[in-house]
Symmetry: C2
Subunit: 487 residues, 2 copies
């Protein structure tokens, strides 16, 4: 077991060392509150013991001290709970699959945990429009499986799909491996049912289950990516794309990052509308996979960069011809050291296993400092070099992989043991560097607790005030997920 309690506390202190917020003057949960909640959701759905799994995030980086987890199963129950919390000024943290990486879905102090996993009753799909309407508590993979039986798919896919819930995906604007093709969730969320923590516990339908609706301010988009700060998403209307009938994967070796950019440019040209993923792993990622997981690259040229490219289309023969033509072009023009086209599902699955095991493999080095940044492509890999230069041999490995097609780099620095020195070298250096180079300090993971103190970096001065004013409109008592994105 890598994380014991002491270790856990140390790591938490590290990551919030700049400013641990004080507990705000919220109410303190009483037996009367618990009784009220039991009336609303039933005694079996109020949990006041053995709460560790809900108080902690799955990385064991953050731990709150909530005394109570509630499991509502309808918007009406959520409404009654939030109205009560509003009236009694009890702080609340909405929790979906609790698969986040920034401490957003666990309490900081004693917030009531509103776990949404029982909110999974309503499901309807219209195959003529591709519009899914469902409760927020469905597991992403379950929705995807259901849609595939009708020839459709969910417009997002990510590592945590087996346990994350769609409501959490939406409230964090989750990204993942096919954003390049299907767009971010703003492209696909048509409407949301949201419960507000106001005096009425208002249940509000924002947007609609229609592809086009210009009949008012498009307020549902405010809840996409606002990490549960403004309301609790209890249902969604989602535009689902047709599922591809042909999926092809290929791995391509490239020696320079500039070369990777050239391959991306030509992938867009040759593969056009069928390009669905463009992932990068650097040599350090591959070394880590070999050393820690005994997984070997399918490429034999030991390239500095391995690009995992996927196409999704509706006609296998056409797609294969396009990919073949693209790979031949790369070889003829000496743009790649070597390339492997997956011959079947097993080979394809293995390529994806390399990519998807990368996050796990680095944890086996000891301790990991994780970054999830967006950068313009001309600076994408420079960051890795800057960190290597700054940290030298004080760190074990500097590993970069990520969704290159989206400009999203997952930079990871590993050490054998947690180290204040390395922490001080990295924070706020990496964030400052990213902002100075026109990037974002959070591409897809969000702000949560982890990046709270950096969230305003590089932004227009009044953004914070506007966000606080907006929060006041939807959450007048400020009880939703305090101490996080909007402070």
């Amino acid at each position: 077991m890598r994380f014991n309690t002491l270790y856990f506390q140390a790591s938490r202190r590290f990551l919030t060392s700049l400013a641990v917020p004080k507990r705000l003057p919220f109410g303190v949960l009483t037996g009367k509150d618990v009784g009220f909640f039991e009336n609303v959701v039933g005694k079996a759905n109020v949990r006041t013991q053995e709460l560790d799994d809900f108080n902690k995030d799955w990385m064991n980086w953050y731990k709150g001290q909530s005394k109570c987890v509630l499991f509502p199963s309808s918007s009406e129950e959520v409404s009654a709970i939030l109205k009560h919390c509003h009236d009694n000024k009890l702080a609340v943290v909405p929790q979906s699959g609790n698969t986040g990486l920034v401490g957003g879905s666990v309490p900081v102090y004693d917030e009531v945990i509103l776990n949404l996993r029982r909110l999974n009753k309503n499901y309807s799909f219209d195959s003529s429009s591709g519009i899914l309407q469902c409760d927020a508590g469905f597991i992403l993979e379950e929705l995807d499986d259901r849609l595939r039986t009708e020839g459709f798919m969910m417009p997002l896919d990510l590592g945590a799909k087996g346990s994350c819930l769609i409501g959490g995906n939406i409230s964090t604007c989750a990204g993942g491996i096919r954003l390049l093709r299907y767009g971010n969730l703003h492209a696909n969320i048509l409407g949301l049912r949201v419960v507000l923590p106001d005096a009425k516990g208002s249940v509000v339908d924002f947007g609609s289950p229609l592809q086009k609706d210009n009949s008012g301010v498009h307020m549902h988009h405010m809840f996409v990516g606002s990490e549960g700060q403004l309301g609790v998403i209890t249902g969604a209307s989602i535009l689902s794309p047709p599922a591809p009938t042909s999926v092809i994967s290929a791995m391509i070796g490239v020696q320079s990052f500039a070369g990777c950019c050239a391959v991306l440019r030509d992938a867009r040209r040759f593969l056009g509308e069928i390009l669905s993923s463009f992932e990068v792993m650097d040599a350090a990622t591959m070394q880590c996979l070999e050393e820690n997981e005994q997984l070997h690259n399918v490429l034999t040229s030991s390239p500095n960069f391995s690009l995992l490219i996927e196409t999704s289309g509706s006609e296998a023969e056409h797609d294969e011809a396009k990919v073949q033509c693209f790979l031949e072009y790369l070889m003829e023009n000496e743009m790649a050291t070597d390339g492997v086209l997956a011959a079947n599902k097993q080979e394809s699955a293995f390529m994806w296993k390399l990519r998807e095991t990368a996050p796990l493999s680095i944890t086996k080095d000891g301790y990991v400092y994780k970054f999830d940044v967006s950068l313009p492509l001309n600076h994408f890999y420079e960051l890795s070099d800057a960190v290597k230069e700054r940290c030298g041999d004080k760190v074990h490995r500097v590993v970069t992989y990520g969704h290159m097609g989206d400009g999203n780099s997952h930079l990871n620095i590993t050490t054998k043991e947690p180290s204040f020195e390395v922490e001080n070298l990295l924070y706020p250096f990496v964030f400052d560097w990213v902002v100075a180079h026109g990037g974002s300090i959070s591409a897809e993971h969000g702000i949560g607790q982890m990046k709270r103190d950096y969230a305003s970096a590089g932004k227009s001065e009044c953004i914070g005030d506007l966000a606080r004013s907006m929060k006041k409109v939807f959450d007048p008592q400020g009880i939703l997920s305090p101490y996080k994105m909007i402070m």
Copy 2:
């Protein structure tokens, strides 16, 4: 000339007959104000005479009485203007190409007109990411032309592309003919520069020119589709898709609307990722084109519905094979009365001419009552039947065409002369019918002045209050585009 002044006034009275709002206690423009504006934008860019083109919309449905049009050329100038208007409580209406259909871009009373067409200096494009950054005053077609020289395109296309400005497109969340493929503007707008009408005339960058940015509330989406109620968009970061190298059009005749739905379902299956448009025109549309424009359908079977389908792809041979296979399937299964595949650009252009001339052709009947609604497909064409039954021979024609692939119907009722009787038959009947059948009273045209009184129909009770509270955050004096979407 179809519209004389008398006529114009009558039609305006019709369309806002339910509740003409009173002028609010805003300031009245003085010579001192004009002097201030001249200092900011230069004397040549303040216009106080011959303002008809700016006070009226292009359909001649609405006319305001502004005394002053300003032509700023930078965010800083817009800022100085809005700060002054805030301080003096002068109402302002932002105006882009003034091509809207709901009276949103013209003043209702004496609002200062902030015309944004000179805001077209900054333009930059990153071909590695496909991200365009530009001022809000560029003409849509000009941006599209520029991007095409680099192998990219604008993610939207609409009839007014030669005169509408991108800022107006964004603030109205314009739809158009390829939304099916490239998504609505929420899918493609990554960031916005907005000037707020607050005490500072704050210039704020919301979002960023990055494909993924989860570093705060995604506030830029609030301005997409809010019709200039919350701030003035002066610049945008836009994700541009690669331009297709192969575009194919086909017209297909179908006898029943249920048959059209079946064709759409199979188009998604056979054409998958290359399907870029799916438009419908009913028999009345074709009759109108023949009688008023002497344009004849390319289909010889005189079908009840003509479907115009377009594909956009990266490999002509593959696309042609897919379309051929699809058309053969339709014929073999007797799903179409006949079909024509455009053999060349001229034939394709003619098919689109039919579709794009439809809005003009109906105006030649005399007077037109226009509706732009979203409906679930199972009710899409029922509306036309309901209107025919209700109006009988009191109307000349009931014409339906639209973006069927998006569930967006353009229903048009024509009469020889404007008629109170017909007006009373249609309003609010059509809106009520649409709401009762799960649709939206505005799919893409917006609310503006035209639908102000109906905007809350079918919505959650507190939506209006929330919108007003949001407006208060961004526009504390309520000076931006009053008497329209948010009242």
